[in-house]
């Protein structure tokens, strides 16, 4: 039983990180129609910047983490200016390839800046763990879950109850109509790129203390988060959360009992099944009623 609970805790912590990355992907997609392949490397960049601020510049952990989010927000804005704005009228494929180019550039720059040696990012809550019905769950995992819950609530409020959120939803529903209504599409895109990068950075600083920072930290997480976004039909926040929990539990719990050596593949198997059965994702009906 303790093993099962431990796996569930691990699966939900994984789901929390996937939620943050997937939210960034979906936020950007809603605002710009772009699926950004730089999201994973922005996550990695967030972890490296946090490491630089805490371990090399000796800034206290919490201010350093907040500063990291601001820096990555700025990186996201710069990315919009450099890789998206000039391609605004280009085909979607060109823009997606542009984000891939940014991803490679970020990865190379990080490697040259910090080298290939894995880095250890300190946790703001230390290395302790709590015993939940016999399963040891680290404080960092609980922090990941807690912070993600707060972010989900905040984003839910922003999307449903603020002017920005309403504009974004209008943009997602009908881009041309939104423009005709006077919504500043370009400004929204810039903010979306910044917010998306900040969400990726948050995922990076939360997940890095669980293991180590290296150049591959974010990429595979992004691919799995992409599966989450597809399951959710690139739709609502609630759909993303549920999909992320589904993927986390499938990978950690089901992967422990079935196809142990292939557990990393299970989320993508799930994604393929959903695409075949419901090409628009599991939560498209919910999305349709909300927009």
């Amino acid at each position: 039983m303790s093993e099962f609970l431990g796996l569930c805790a691990s699966g939900i912590a994984l789901a929390a990180v996937l939620t943050l990355v997937a939210l960034g992907l979906v936020l950007l997609y809603k605002a710009t129609n772009v699926v950004s392949f730089a999201q994973g490397d922005l996550m990695t960049a967030g972890a490296y910047v946090a490491f630089w601020l805490t371990a090399q510049e000796h800034i206290a952990i919490v201010p350093a983490y907040l500063l990291t989010l601001l820096i990555l927000f700025a990186v996201g804005v710069a990315m919009e200016r450099i890789a998206y704005a000039p391609l605004r009228r280009a085909s979607p494929i060109a823009v997606v390839l542009g984000t891939l180019g940014v991803a490679l550039a970020i990865r190379s720059a990080l490697g040259i800046w910090q080298g290939t040696t894995p880095k250890n990012l300190s946790s703001p809550v230390g290395d302790g763990s709590v015993n939940i019905f016999g399963a040891a769950v680290t404080d960092q995992r609980l922090l990941v879950i807690g912070v993600t819950a707060v972010i989900v609530l905040v984003l839910g409020y922003v999307f449903n109850s603020t002017r920005y959120g309403r504009q974004l939803r209008a943009l997602a529903a009908d881009r041309e109509a939104a423009q005709l209504m006077g919504i500043r599409v370009n400004g929204l895109a810039t903010i979306a790129f910044g917010a998306s990068a900040a969400l990726a950075a948050l995922a990076g600083v939360l997940v890095a203390p669980l293991g180590a920072i290296d150049l591959n930290l974010g990429f595979n997480m992004m691919i799995t988060a992409f599966a989450v976004a597809v399951l959710a039909g690139f739709g609502s926040i609630g759909g993303i959360v549920v999909s992320a929990i589904l993927v986390g539990l499938v990978q950690q719990v089901l992967g422990n009992y079935v196809l142990q050596d292939y557990s990393d593949v299970l989320p993508f198997g799930l994604m393929l099944i959903v695409i075949i059965i419901r090409p628009r994702g599991l939560f498209t009906a919910m999305q349709g009623s909300r927009v």
Binding site: E3, L7, G111, I112, T117, V207, L217
Partner: protein, 413 residues
């Protein structure tokens, strides 16, 4: 071992394309550049097989990148090798011959670029090439066979061992093989821990397949089979399920990349699985990079063919450690020590062969025992690994402490 995180499939795929391209273009480009082709560094091009002792400088080529040249560059090889060159020249050279080198920034990820750098290196007529590190060295096998210039691998790669798919009679390795590392881990688990139930966490990387095969064979020889085995992907950030699967084991063998090895050790300790966790060189960078949590340290046993730790090390190892610290301000890694010893072996073999002839130099590698290295004495195994000894260290105190020495019988047959 700190491995380069390069997809083997990507590297080999690129290699196939690059090899075809280079093979097609090599003949025309070589004759039009500086008149030297890739094969010009081969037998007798600059060396003489006359009886008179050569006084020409010994010319080595280093095939690796240094920091700043790519995101995958590892600085340790260059630093260890430079220390060896300086050390030899300060002592008057090898048999009076000065040691010189040229470094060529061979990419650990780009097969085409690595082949280009190798061909450039050949124009310098080296007696021995060192590197490149990682699986990319597999793409050079055909060139090495063609040029007949001895190559020293500075990081293990089982498929590149002599007798394996990418092996060459002109390629040697400074350290012990991963198979030897695996047998050392089994020896420690069975003969020191007296474990009856042994678990294995391993990387699915083909490079580690040799170690896993050796582990299973060594256990089978003793009538033991693995109780649990789990593979961990090379970029896993959570190994909770693999750690929990190790409950009830007497010892766990961990043959993964360093990040995942540290993660496995940490997560086992968090789950109260406090049993000897035996790895290989993967745990040393994990320790120096601060990836292993305090609670996990007492469980960990690492294994390396270079004993650079503690007070009870050879004078040569101590001298290397001090030189390295003076030069870089850091503790040396086994990779730096391997590069250091590779230079010393290569220089001595060239001097003893009194020729750049690849067959003559290779014969020295095969038959001689090279002494005075930071990693001890070096003698070729049948797989052309220059070491068959593993030093096992406990990490209990936070720094490696010698707890066992293993001499691989398979390496000395």
């Amino acid at each position: 071992m700190r491995k380069l995180r390069v997809s083997r499939g990507l590297a080999i795929g690129a290699a196939v394309v690059a090899t075809a391209a280079l093979a097609a273009g090599c003949g025309s480009s070589s004759s039009s550049s500086d008149g030297s082709s890739g094969s010009s560094g081969s037998s007798g091009s600059s060396g003489s097989s006359s009886a008179a002792k050569s006084t020409d400088p010994i010319n080595l080529a280093f095939l690796w990148e240094i920091k700043g040249e790519s995101s995958y560059a590892i600085q340790d090889f260059q630093e260890g090798a430079e220390i060896a060159v300086d050390q030899l020249n300060a002592a008057g050279g090898v048999d009076g011959r000065r040691v010189e080198y040229t470094r060529y920034p061979a990419s650990p990820t780009d097969a085409s670029q690595t082949l280009t750098q190798y061909l450039k290196a050949m124009s310098g007529k080296p007696s021995v090439t060192l590197g490149p590190p990682g699986p990319i060295q597999e793409v050079l096998t055909k060139q090495i066979d063609r040029t007949q210039v001895v190559n020293m691998g500075v990081s293990p790669d089982p498929p590149s061992e002599f007798g394996q798919k990418f092996g060459s009679k002109y390629r040697f390795f400074a350290g012990a093989s991963l198979a030897t590392q695996g047998r050392a881990a089994v020896w420690y688990a069975l003969d020191r821990v007296h474990a009856r139930k042994i678990g294995l966490i391993y990387s699915p990387d083909p490079s580690d397949a040799g170690a896993v095969t050796a582990i299973k064979a060594a256990l089978a020889d003793r009538g033991v089979s693995l109780a649990v085995e789990r593979s961990v992907s090379n970029d896993a950030t959570d190994v909770t399920k693999e750690a929990l699967a190790m409950k009830g084991m007497d010892a766990v063998l961990v043959f993964t990349y360093e990040n995942q090895a540290a993660l496995a050790a940490n997560q086992m300790a968090q789950q109260g699985i406090d049993v000897p966790t035996i790895g290989y060189t993967n745990f040393y960078p994990s320790l120096s990079d601060g990836l292993i949590k305090r609670d996990a340290l007492p469980n960990i046993i690492g294994g390396t063919s270079c004993n650079l730790y503690g007070d009870d090390i050879t004078p040569e190892a101590r001298a290397f450690v001090e030189r390295y610290k003076a030069a870089t301000g850091d503790e040396p890694t086994f990779q730096a020590a391997n590069a250091h010893d590779s230079v010393m072996i290569a220089a001595q073999a060239t001097a003893d062969a009194n020729s750049n002839d690849g067959n003559a130099v290779a014969e020295q590698f095969k038959t001689k025992t090279f002494t005075g290295g930071a990693c001890g004495d070096h003698k070729s195994t049948p797989a052309q690994q220059m070491s068959s000894k593993i030093y096992l260290h406990s990490f209990r105190t936070g720094s490696p402490t010698l707890v066992g020495e293993y001499e691989d019988p398979a390496g000395t047959q």
